[in-house]
């Protein structure tokens, strides 16, 4: 009997037979052994049909796995064993141009900048860096973090521990270990961990019934670094920041997209070459995060080069966001003074004018904008230029009551607002002037 026929037998039979009366029992639990037997036979027949011509005959690949070559060593943890790779980075270790050290403790505002909100205190050295390598990038409960990298400072050294899942089903001790480390740290530092690594670990803990306390503070460098370095990097990826900010270029790195398959390949064949590559990749991620903390601290503390006017502008904006107005004004003034980046200076002036207007210092607001505009040699981008004109038109019309200047700037600003609005502004200023002339 062909598989189709069997399928049909089912459709014609139990699927459509008991038509008029509700069957007393349909569940497998209560149905007799004979029915189970028939159902099973149908099932197996159908399964055979499914694999027709497509089945991979080579199932011998799924043999017992040799684990001799996995990176790291097996260590005891409670009753269980965990495969761990340990590395220690002493004193002056660096990643690219920056130290792997907790130097950032000297920059009290760094944590606030990275977090985008006032933390009230500086972050101490008791932090835990965390980065996972997983079996799928799409997420979901069935995605397994098969390598979890941890990094922390101890004495004068940076220690890393990479926990490797030797095979699915042995995840629990790893999760327990990680949960303990997270709980012991003052802050967790990740890159995109808020939306990826931590939810994944959380899910796996629910599945493995492991208790996980939420970290006291979680700094996600993806968002923090985007706020600080967004102006000078092409995209926000860790390897891009590593190249552009830290000056480190990875050699022979495994592409992220190949990682899941590499792990499955290891499970199937015991081949560990790529696991070593993944461990190196994961270690680089940990080192890059630690170095980025220092880089962020340094860049936000003082500008590193003329190119960094954009970072400085970002720092000014972060100060404003955190309502540190005095610092925001100081930083913005410094950006304005940056002579060889006209557009950044203009952005700085716009920010400065905004701060002044908030403090009702309208004259200062107009002055700082006009000072920058006076340097116009055609290098300004139109969007900020129009915005500057519009701001000036508003200040002169409403606060400084200089209608001639207001009209001048209003005529320059049109494309920014809806056209009819800007025309309205121009004609309103014109009619105000007329009235004044009549009165005079």
């Amino acid at each position: 009997m062909s598989h189709i026929k069997r399928r049909l037998a089912r459709l014609n039979g139990s699927g459509g037979r008991q038509e008029d009366e509700a069957p007393k029992t349909i569940s497998a639990k209560s149905s007799g052994g004979a029915l189970d037997g028939v159902k099973l036979a149908q099932f197996r027949g159908r399964l055979r049909g499914l694999g027709r011509g497509k089945r991979n005959e080579d199932s011998s690949l799924i043999a017992d796995i040799e684990r001799v070559d996995l990176p790291g060593v097996e260590e005891n943890f409670g009753q269980s064993k965990i495969q761990i790779v340990r590395e220690t980075f002493h004193g002056k270790a660096s990643h690219g141009d920056f130290m792997v050290d907790s130097l950032w403790r000297d920059y009290p505002k760094l944590g606030n900048f990275l977090n985008g909100a006032d933390l009230g205190e500086n972050i101490g050295p008791n932090v835990l860096f965390l980065d996972t390598e997983t079996t799928g990038l799409a997420g979901g409960t069935g995605t397994i973090p098969f390598m979890i990298g941890l990094g922390y400072f101890q004495g004068g050294t940076f220690n890393t521990e990479q926990l490797i899942l030797r095979q699915p089903g042995q995840e629990k001790p790893i999760l327990r270990y990680v949960a303990e480390k997270i709980e012991a740290a003052d802050a967790l530092i990740t890159f995109n961990g808020k939306s990826y690594d931590l939810p994944l670990i959380r899910s796996r803990c629910v599945l493995g019934r492991v208790k996980l306390r939420e970290p006291g503070l979680h700094l996600d460098l993806l968002h923090g670094c985007r706020r600080i370095f967004g102006g000078i990097t092409t995209d926000g990826r860790l390897t891009t920041l590593e190249r552009d900010i830290l000056g480190f270029i990875r050699e022979d790195d495994i592409p992220g997209a190949e990682i899941p398959e590499a792990y499955f390949e290891f499970l199937r064949s015991g081949e560990t070459k790529k696991i070593h590559q993944i461990a190196k990749h994961n270690l680089w991620d940990l080192l890059a995060m630690a170095a980025l903390m220092n880089a962020s601290g340094l860049y936000t503390h003082k500008p590193q080069s003329h190119d960094d006017a954009r970072v400085w502008l970002a720092v000014a904006k972060l100060n404003r966001r955190l309502s540190w107005d005095t610092d925001a004004i100081e930083r913005a003034k410094e950006v304005c003074a940056c002579s060889d980046a006209a557009n950044v200076a203009l952005q700085g002036a716009l920010l400065l004018a905004q701060m002044y207007r908030r403090q009702k210092l309208y004259r200062d607001a107009a002055d700082c904008l006009e000072m920058i505009l006076a340097k116009d040699d055609g290098a300004f981008d139109s969007a900020p230029l129009n915005e500057a004109h519009l701001v000036l038109a508003k200040i002169y019309e409403h606060q400084l009551k200089d209608l001639t200047k207001a009209l001048h700037y209003a005529r320059l600003s049109p494309p920014l607002e809806e056209r009819h609005l800007s025309q309205k502004r121009v004609s309103r200023i014109e009619s105000k002037m007329m009235r004044l002339q009549v009165e005079a």
């Binding site: 014609n12 099932f43 799409a138 397994i144």
Partner: protein, 819 residues
């Protein structure tokens, strides 16, 4: 036509005397008018009275909390209908149940009450509601929120679907007492992330599956597997929910619900709701072309009847077959009623493609009586709350008897007379009912069929389940036999999707071991959910959406797309980005796409001979085929006259489908014996195939749209059938029009003798002379073939001869049957 007794019955039900100075209003007045007009009464072929029922009420169950008593009291619900009380009782005892009572019998209260009671006892309790459409979830969400407020329950009711904004999603996960969603979202959005939904699953007490009858065939088989996964996940989180199903009237509610969860289910089917008198009429429009057997368009007839009702101030719902049909009827009705000074604003369309805001507005206006008439697709067949209307006009048979009654249920007040009219079109199945209208009330409603163990579907969901939670030997998956489950898991191991390992205590475990996120690649519906958006070029606004499958026939370039009574022409179809750009036009025609189907036989599973009365054996077969549907062009059809006024080309990718087909091959000797040119014979065979399709649909009690038919003749050269299959002679294919098939073709194969004979009788009994749409359908329209056919008797007589040979009937016996 009605006999004299029936006529007098009409007279009795109408008002005694007509007062000419008063405008006659109400259902009874319309009935009287229709009876008085020969034009209408001559074509009423069926008049059936569904008597009023007093209903049966029971006091509110004492075990419901005081706040619920108070809230229901305030809503003037002092008691429950008997079926509601019964349902609440089962649910509160934790027994799975299915409620299968007619439309508007208060089914939602049956499941809302136990849920409200559970929430009032323990606010941490959770319930999950599943609806087949987003619109229904929104509708029920409002309803439920109102009830919760009245009962002083603070647990939220949150709809979780593709339209839910991110912050509301978080709220649904953490605080939603009742989460309302659809099977697709449960499948791709909730189950694969169940760890984030731990709060829902660990306290899950009730799962409500409304509109159960929708989940038939492939969709139903998918849902049964999604429910297997749901139960497994709930068990993992420590819950064992009670399932409450609600269904329209189908033939096998308890069996169907039982198959859904693989457990036995209590049936509540005796409605205790009172109903008023209902008259069910069947109107078969007059023949306008006796030669061709063509009847007046059912669209026009339905519009005329609906206009009579609206003029008499009867609130009316008109059901059309397609989105296009709905728009055409809306346009006609508005035009017709404008002459009676009835504002177009009182007549609205309602269908799937409208944006949610527009639909809410129409629903509200209907409930509040500001809209007198609504023209709808089956979107309104489901439990959208529009209150009760006085009359239903159904233009065309909707494909199943269950669907007819579901639509008819939209009319009916508690006390007053209501009216339900089925207007049949010229199509064969419709004419079948016009000739045998008793079938509507006597043959019962269809059975919903699913096959949860359909191996393709099962394996897909086994993958999803393994992703959600690793399997251990000894785990169960619904009612799948444990050894079968292990076989399935091993199959996935072989295909490198699962990884088998031993746990520390020696239990074999299966872990998901592939990068892909399996639920994303499994669509629950045969129809893709990837909608096309329709953008008006004038203002670059999205005016509607359409599912992928309809795009080919409705949104090809130059097509006239009808929306809210206005016409738009498709100027550009961006197929890759799923966008259609349209511009408003005022044409005097609409468009109708022409399709062409190619068949390739992939695998033959069965083959037998079919003896004929002339001693030559025909061949029949059953197997897997690959179908390619191509849109070859479109016709322009003039409004009102429905003349064909032109053609156009369409260039769109082909649609492919792998399915199961039955086939019947006429040997070449038989073609020779018919003594007519081969193309003429093939065209006649096409007519026989059409009749066989009709009879199969009625015989299998399935929607004719679930089947397809085509005729291929390898010798004409235009068709290529796969090599290695000896189909060298003209062949009729009747196939499942659902990817993978749902087992219709095999049933045709098994019941071929009766069906072939039935097809012959259908042609034989048809009153037309040379063939009509109701029997053998139109010829392929090739003038030369038509010309030649005339030289060999009519196409109908040739089809009849083929039919008589195939059904193995000597002609004299046939004469006996016919007369």
């Amino acid at each position: 036509m009605l006999n004299s007794n029936q006529r007098s019955e009409f007279a009795q039900s109408s008002p005694d005397r007509r007062e000419p100075w008063k405008k006659m209003t109400g259902v009874a007045a319309v009935l009287q008018k229709w009876l008085g007009t020969g034009r209408i009464s001559n074509n009423l072929v069926f008049d059936h009275r569904v008597g009023a029922a007093e209903g049966q009420s029971l006091p509110l169950p004492s075990h419901l909390s005081a706040t619920i008593h108070k809230a229901l009291g305030a809503k003037e619900i002092p008691s429950l209908y008997s079926h509601q009380a019964q349902a609440v009782d089962y649910a509160m005892k934790g027994e799975h149940l299915v409620i299968a009572t007619p439309t508007a019998s208060g089914k939602s209260l049956c499941y809302n009450l136990p849920v409200l009671q559970a929430l009032s006892e323990a606010p941490s309790t959770r319930a999950l509601y599943l609806f087949p459409t987003k619109a229904l979830s929104r509708d029920q969400e409002e309803n439920l929120r109102g009830l919760m407020q009245d009962c002083g329950i603070h647990a939220g009711a949150v709809t979780y679907d593709g339209d839910t904004p991110a912050d509301a999603r978080r709220a649904a996960r953490n605080r939603g007492g009742v989460v309302l969603t659809n099977p697709d979202m449960l499948h791709t959005g909730i189950l694969p992330h169940h760890a984030s939904w731990a709060r829902l699953f660990s306290e899950l007490k009730y799962v409500v599956v409304d509109e159960l009858h929708i989940y038939r065939g492939v969709f139903g088989s998918h849902l049964a597997n999604v429910l297997r996964r749901l139960k497994r996940i709930a068990n993992f989180h420590g819950a064992d929910p009670t399932f409450i199903f609600a269904s329209a009237t189908i033939g096998n509610p308890a069996e169907h619900a039982g198959q859904m969860i693989g457990e036995s289910v209590r049936l509540v089917s005796e409605s205790g709701a009172p109903t008023g008198d209902k008259r069910v009429l069947l109107y078969n429009p007059p023949v306008v072309n006796a030669e061709l057997g063509i009847r007046e368009s059912c669209v026009k007839a339905a519009v005329r009847l609906a206009a009579d009702l609206v003029r008499a101030d009867v609130s009316t719902i008109v059901f059309g077959q397609s989105r296009n049909g709905v728009e055409v009827m809306l346009k006609y009705l508005r035009e017709r009623l404008a002459r009676d000074k009835i504002s177009p604003e009182q007549i609205h369309a309602y269908r799937g493609g409208y944006l949610p805001g527009k639909r809410r507005e129409i629903e509200k206006n209907l409930r509040e009586g500001r809209i007198k008439c609504v023209v709808a697709t089956n979107a309104l067949e489901l439990g959208i709350d529009i209150g009760s209307l006085d009359a239903v006009v159904c233009a065309g048979y909707p494909g199943s008897i269950a669907s007819v009654w579901q639509r008819f249920g939209r009319a009916g007040r508690r006390r007053d007379l209501s009216l339900a009219v089925l207007v049949t079109n010229s199509s064969p199945v419709d004419q079948f009912f016009a000739h045998f209208p008793e079938a509507l009330v006597e043959s019962g409603t269809e059975h919903a069929r699913i096959d949860p163990d359909n191996i393709e579907i099962f394996i897909q969901h086994l993958k999803c389940a393994a992703f959600e939670l690793p399997f251990e030997v000894g785990h169960t998956f619904g009612d799948v036999p444990p050894e079968g489950l292990v076989d399935g898991l091993e199959y996935l191991v072989e295909n490198k999707l699962l990884y088998r390992s031993e746990s520390e205590d020696g239990v074999t475990m299966y872990h998901w071991a592939a990068d892909a996120y399996p639920a994303n690649h499994v669509s629950l519906r045969s129809v893709s959910w990837d909608n096309f958006v329709i953008i008006d070029q004038e203002n670059e606004k999205t005016i509607a959406e359409m599912d992928w499958r309809s795009t080919h026939t409705m949104l090809h370039e130059q097509a006239i797309y009808q929306h809210m009574g206005e016409q738009f022409q498709v100027e550009k179809l961006d197929f890759d980005n799923h966008k259609a750009f349209v511009r408003k036009v005022k044409p005097d025609y609409y468009t109708d796409a022409m399709t062409y189907v190619r068949v390739a036989v992939l695998d033959q599973d069965e083959g037998e001979v079919l003896p004929t009365s002339i001693g030559i054996n025909a061949q029949i077969g059953l197997g897997e085929v690959n179908l390619t549907e191509k849109i070859v062009g479109y016709k322009k059809i003039k409004y009102n006259t429905h003349e064909n006024v032109g053609y156009g080309d369409v260039r769109l990718p082909d649609m492919q489908m792998h399915t199961t087909s039955f086939w019947l091959t006429i040997p070449n000797e038989m073609v020779t014996q018919l003594d007519a040119p081969r193309p003429v014979v093939v065209d006649a065979l096409r007519g026989f195939a059409k009749a066989l399709h009709t009879v199969s649909a009625v015989g299998l009690m399935t929607d004719p749209k679930d089947l397809g038919h085509t005729v291929k003749d390898p010798q004409t050269g235009e068709e290529t059938l796969d090599e290695g299959h000896s189909l060298y002679a003209p062949t009729v294919f009747i196939y499942d029009k659902i990817p993978g098939g749902v087992g219709l073709a095999p049933r045709i194969f098994d019941e071929r003798d009766g069906l072939v004979k039935g097809a012959y009788l259908l042609i034989e009994r048809c009153t037309c002379r040379h063939g009509c749409p109701a029997c053998i359908g139109p010829s392929i329209g090739d003038d030369q073939i038509s010309q030649e056919t005339q030289n060999f008797g009519s196409r109908k007589s040739l089809s009849l001869r083929i039919g008589s040979w195939l059904s193995n009937h000597p002609s004299e016996v046939i004469d006996d049957v016919a007369h």
